[in-house]
Amino acid sequence: MTVTIPLFRCFLLFFHVVVVFHLVSATELTFELADDDIQCFFEEIEKGEKFSLDYQVITGGNYDVDCSIVDPGAKVLYEESKKQYDHFSHTAEKTGVYKVCFSNEFSTFSHKTVYFDLQTREEPALIPEMHNRVSALTQMESSSVLIHEILKTISESQTHYRLREAIDRIRAEEIHEHVMYWSVGETLILFVVSISQVVMLKSFFTDKKSIPGLGF
């Protein structure tokens, strides 16, 4: 049994999908910030929309970064220095392009990996026609919406744990490597120092004519 949808309804669907697609915006990215570098991201936000920014430093140096958010009128909404992680939410007062900048300019040689999650706008409905609901949701439907929201929270906390675990794991791997290098280095230094000690002592006694009891 095939269901044919009249052309008009198709256009309505088209219109809704177009509109809905342009409303989706939750971007999470992990990028590398070189030393003495600044990286900015821009997002167009409408007035009255709530947006939130979460960021965390995953690798590098003292695990800190400078972050700032500037609104279209060049007003600084948020500015923090050397933070390891933070959360900021705000309701946009102006329509326009908001700028989020991460800066590693205070660091001279450590490059950092930064994760950030910029969420703007409400999550759109699952299929566009849901926007046009006239009746209230049934209990089944409202329970499933609730489950959906809870699962989203679980997913977000999984991301949070994954990031924290990544920080520790990468640091452990660095220690693993460094232990090897330092041990080899120390052994070499040990040999060099002991041999040169003996050589130097010998040289003291061979240069001067042997005077018994004099040794330094």
């Binding site: 044919t4 915006s25 699952l126 299929i127 439907e141 699962l151 994954r162 675990e165 520790d168």
Partner: protein, 219 residues
């Protein structure tokens, strides 16, 4: 309109260009990389749109023919999974087969343009991972699902992704534990080795110097 053409319609719409997404600026020859840490068998869809800076109008051109981006994706073992050239606007997709950190790198192919404009590019980017890659209107149309059925399908996808992430977590924890135990072993063996070398060197030094002083008749 037949269901098939409906699906085609919706599929076409799903690959619509981005007009409102996060964007950033890169230099013409600059390479920008993003890291995605994902469990295995996870699909990642990336959509981007590039605009070139025009010095004359001091604005970003809406479209530039000939402008292209090279997309390279590397898996956790630094093996190249995807390496393709796309136009100014593109959509790339890959599925991870090993869990871990995948690196998505983008750079412009306009080596000739760099001489003339020496300018910057604006890249609009949107990367979706896991269950966010599913196109629910398309699935609803294809399988003819009601809203509730579609919602349940979405919940199933979400739960599946959560499960994959948990398996990945277990795998990571195992690796972490192995690294820590290996570090422990290394520290132990190197400490013993260095102490032994220290003792041997000390003894050698004393014996050598003793025989040297005896030869010099100082002792």
């Amino acid at each position: 309109m037949s269901p098939f053409s409906q699906i085609v319609f919706i599929a076409l719409l799903s690959s619509l260009s981005l007009t409102r997404a996060l964007y950033f600026h890169i230099g013409e020859t600059e390479k920008k990389c993003f890291i995605e840490e994902i469990p295995d068998e996870t699909m990642v869809i990336g959509k981007y749109r590039t605009q070139l800076w025009d010095k004359q109008t001091a604005a970003f051109l809406p479209s530039t023919p000939g402008l292209g981006m090279h997309v390279e994706v590397k898996d956790p073992d630094t093996k190249v999974v995807l390496s393709r050239q796309y136009g100014a606007e593109g959509r790339f997709t890959f599925t991870s087969h090993t869990p871990g950190e995948h690196q998505i790198c983008l750079h412009s192919n306009s080596s000739k343009m760099a001489l003339f404009t020496g300018g910057k590019l604006r890249v609009h980017l949107d990367i979706q991972v896991g269950e966010h890659t599913n196109n629910y209107p398309e699935i609803a149309a294809k399988d003819k699902l009601t809203e509730l059925q579609l919602r349940v399908r979405q919940l199933l996808d979400q739960v599946e992704q959560i499960q994959k992430e948990q398996n990945y977590q277990r795998y990571r924890e195992e690796r972490f534990r192995m690294t820590s135990e290996s570090t422990n072993q290394r520290v132990l063996w190197w400490s013993i080795t260095q102490t032994v070398i220290l003792l041997i060197t000390g003894i050698w030094q004393m014996r050598h110097l003793k025989s040297f002083f005896e030869a010099k008749k100082l002792v």
